[in-house]
């Protein structure tokens, strides 16, 4: 259990934050990562190296030779020489992130084989590098009920919903992680960027750092930029994957401010800036409305560092869903707040009792079970839990009485609605069969049929209202 630091350029060896890990300094580690194997390090948990002085493929190979999966070993890259205390904080964060790693299979290792120029051949093979690619847990996926949120969000069209299950092409996938934060059920996951890894890393930063500090999300391509003063780096596959919840969560974990580096400024080729900018604006609006100011979420690391607003434990933030994070922030700020949003994964569903026939289709297609049908012998209720709603609007699309505005979705962060818990939106009686006593249909649905058929089919109406389909 070791944090390994390359000690070139006078880099000091920091103290561990806790006694549960060792810190080992090695000269020349960047240039010769196999020094790790030669020194007999058996369980490297995180590495601190120098900008532009190492080849990630060699580093991953050296880690792999110890029997450890390199996808779970964070590599922190230093630019300017940081102080011993900054190094301690960086190391503590990296170790915490490693310890929250739940493992990765071979299917998660996406090959990136650089081709390099050489004297021997114009084009030669470099050292293979691997990035963590997402996978889809079919047991959690709601594709069978029509959910296509990941497919619609994928910038490389690598997800295919044909056949009722989501299949995925690792060859075309950029592993940006947008599908991960878009998935309403947690079926899609990137093993190297699980929410718990991120919250544990940030918690370790704030625990170690005595001064107000910021968290700077950067994409994996921006690793080469190193560390900036007072801003501690958290690597994600692409900053375009950051949801509102991910952008705001560091503030609850003790960070004073959050920054996310856009693709264009980091030199990243994924070009998901528009997505980040939308969510950055929404997160800023929430921070401002809750009374925490408009400079908590920034696209740059300029400006002074305000005092932190909270210090929740990492476990309190769960998966960093937008609604969870917003509600946790609201308990620390203004209580009675409603913030409309176009990009937040939240929604408040309401039902028009005059036009809803309680057909249950909305509950059937809801990917998160925010809408649910509860049946008894002679009644049926449609219930709703705002905390679970991700605002996907599949319920609205599925509603057969959409023209009558039977169901509406209002995308807003709403403290009152989120705190309400599961409640009944509509309740109605169910007609029962006079012969067998079984359920026929909700009375509201039979009324609707009657209004459509009028008096022309009185006999039919009388029959379908009295007998179930088996007894007619």
């Amino acid at each position: 259990m070791t944090l390994v630091v390359c000690t070139d350029h006078g880099t000091p060896v920091p103290e561990p934050l806790e006694a549960a890990y060792d810190v080992v300094g090695m000269a020349g580690l960047c240039e010769n990562p196999s020094a790790l194997n030669e020194a007999g390090v058996t369980n490297p948990e995180a590495l601190i190296l120098h900008v532009g002085e190492y080849d990630l493929g060699f580093v991953q190979g050296a880690v792999r030779k110890t029997g450890v999966n390199p996808l779970g070993v964070p590599v922190i890259t230093l630019g300017d020489l940081p102080t011993r205390s900054v190094l301690r904080t960086l190391g503590a964060g990296a170790i915490a992130r490693h310890r929250a790693f739940q493992g990765a299979g071979p299917e998660h290792a996406k090959l990136q084989w650089p081709q390099v120029m050489s004297r021997r051949r114009l084009l030669a093979l470099g050292v293979p590098q691997y990035i963590a690619a997402p996978s889809i847990n079919a047991a959690l996926c709601s594709a069978d009920s029509g959910c296509r949120l990941c497919v619609e969000s994928c910038p490389t069209q690598s997800l295919d919903p044909s056949g009722g299950i989501i299949s995925y092409s690792v060859d075309t996938c950029s592993a940006c992680g947008i599908c991960v934060t878009t998935c309403p059920t947690g079926a899609t996951a990137n093993p190297a960027t699980r929410p718990r890894q991120i919250t544990e890393q940030i918690s370790a930063f704030t625990k170690s750092c005595q001064e107000p500090m910021g968290v700077r999300f950067h994409c994996r391509d921006a690793r080469v930029r190193g560390v900036e003063a007072d801003w501690y780096p958290v690597e994600v596959p692409c900053t375009g994957m950051l949801s509102i919840g991910w952008l705001l969560a560091p503030l609850l974990l003790g960070a004073s401010a959050v920054s996310a580096e856009p693709c264009l400024s980091s030199g990243c080729s994924l070009a998901n800036d528009a997505r980040l900018t939308e969510r950055y604006a929404a997160a800023t609006a929430i921070s401002e409305t809750l009374g925490f100011g408009s400079d908590r979420v920034r696209l740059s690391t300029q400006g002074s560092m305000p005092d932190p607003i909270g210090s929740l434990p990492a476990a309190a933030l769960g998966e960093m869903h937008d609604a969870d994070v917003f509600l946790a922030m609201a308990t620390l700020g203004s209580k009675d707040v409603k913030v409309p949003t176009t990009v937040g994964a939240v929604g408040v569903v309401s039902i028009n009792e005059d036009s809803c026939t309680i057909c249950e289709l909305c509950a059937t297609v809801c990917p998160t079970d925010a809408l649910s049908a509860r049946k008894s012998h002679d009644t049926v209720d449609i219930t709703f839990d705002t905390m679970s709603c991700v605002g996907c609007a599949m319920c609205v699309a599925a509603c057969p009485e959409q023209a009558q505005n039977a169901i509406t979705l209002d995308r807003r962060f709403d403290v009152d609605a989120l705190a309400t818990g599961r409640h009944t939106l509509i309740s109605g009686s169910t007609a029962t069969c006079e012969k067998c006593g079984g359920q026929i249909a909700p009375s509201a649905m039979l009324d609707r049929i009657q209004s459509m058929l009028g008096h022309e089919h009185a006999g039919t109406l009388a029959l379908i209202g009295k007998r179930c389909i088996d007894c007619r």
């Binding site: 060699f58 792999r64 290792a109 090959l111 084989w113 021997r120 051949r121």
Partner: protein, 229 residues
């Protein structure tokens, strides 16, 4: 430190060796063959195997290979696992077992298709081979031969042949090996076998899956630039 494949040709030779050793791993484990496999594993590791992602799955099998102390026990277990006996093998190592319905006569169809496929590759099993052409060892050996052809084409700087070989490799992996290998490996895992066989399944599956990614990478690499020396 290990020497990595520096050129596409060396990479093809390395892949040829990987398929070869896994092919041998599914043949009867005679002491001589086990010795050859250990030597082969040493050579492959020296060719940069730890730089490839499937090394994490390779390592447990490699350790099991090195720590065999009872060759008879291994041979007996091999028969139970892979050789059809009175009750059938615990995990039959043939494609047709997983993809064909014997009652509908589909086994012969699978074998005929494979034989035809090997003919298009200008390959045929040697007369001493008694296994059917859909045996895992033969399919892995076919991949090894295709990699060897690819390496020769690269040596001759014949880019057209290189691409034909890459297409053949990609097609054979997608249409044959990877169709049934995952189920076969699941069956090995369920059979609660010796470490040598228990770890062989994940090692070969992760290698073959990885290799499909390598083939896809090689297919999209620029042949014109590579040919300029």
């Amino acid at each position: 430190m290990n020497k990595l494949p520096e050129t596409f040709e060396e990479l093809s030779r390395f892949r040829q060796g990987m398929y070869r050793i896994f092919s041998a791993a599914f043949l009867p484990p005679t002491p001589e063959r086990l010795g050859d496999m250990i030597a082969g594993a040493d050579a492959l590791e020296a060719m940069g195997l730890p730089y490839l992602a499937f090394y994490n799955e390779w390592l447990p099998w490699r350790q099991a290979l090195n720590s065999i102390h009872d060759a008879i026990e291994v041979e007996v277990e091999y028969v139970r696992m892979f050789t059809t006996g009175v009750a059938g093998a615990a995990s039959p190592p043939t494609e047709s077992f997983y993809t064909a319905d014997p009652i509908r006569g589909e086994v012969g169809e699978v074998l005929a298709k494979l034989t035809a496929k090997y003919n298009t590759f200008r390959l045929e099993p040697t007369r001493t081979v008694t296994d059917t052409v859909d045996h895992i060892s033969i399919e892995l050996e076919v991949m090894s031969a295709l990699c060897a052809y690819e390496a020769e084409a690269r040596e001759d700087e014949d880019q057209r042949r290189v691409h034909v070989m890459l297409d053949n490799e990609q097609g054979f992996l997608e249409e044959h090996l990877l169709v049934w290998l995952p189920t076969f490996v699941d069956r090995i895992a369920a059979a609660d076998s010796l470490a040598l066989f228990k770890h062989l399944g994940p090692a070969v599956l992760s290698f073959v899956r990885h290799d499909l990614g390598v083939v896809n990478f090689l297919s999209t690499s620029s042949p014109i630039v590579e040919s300029v020396q």
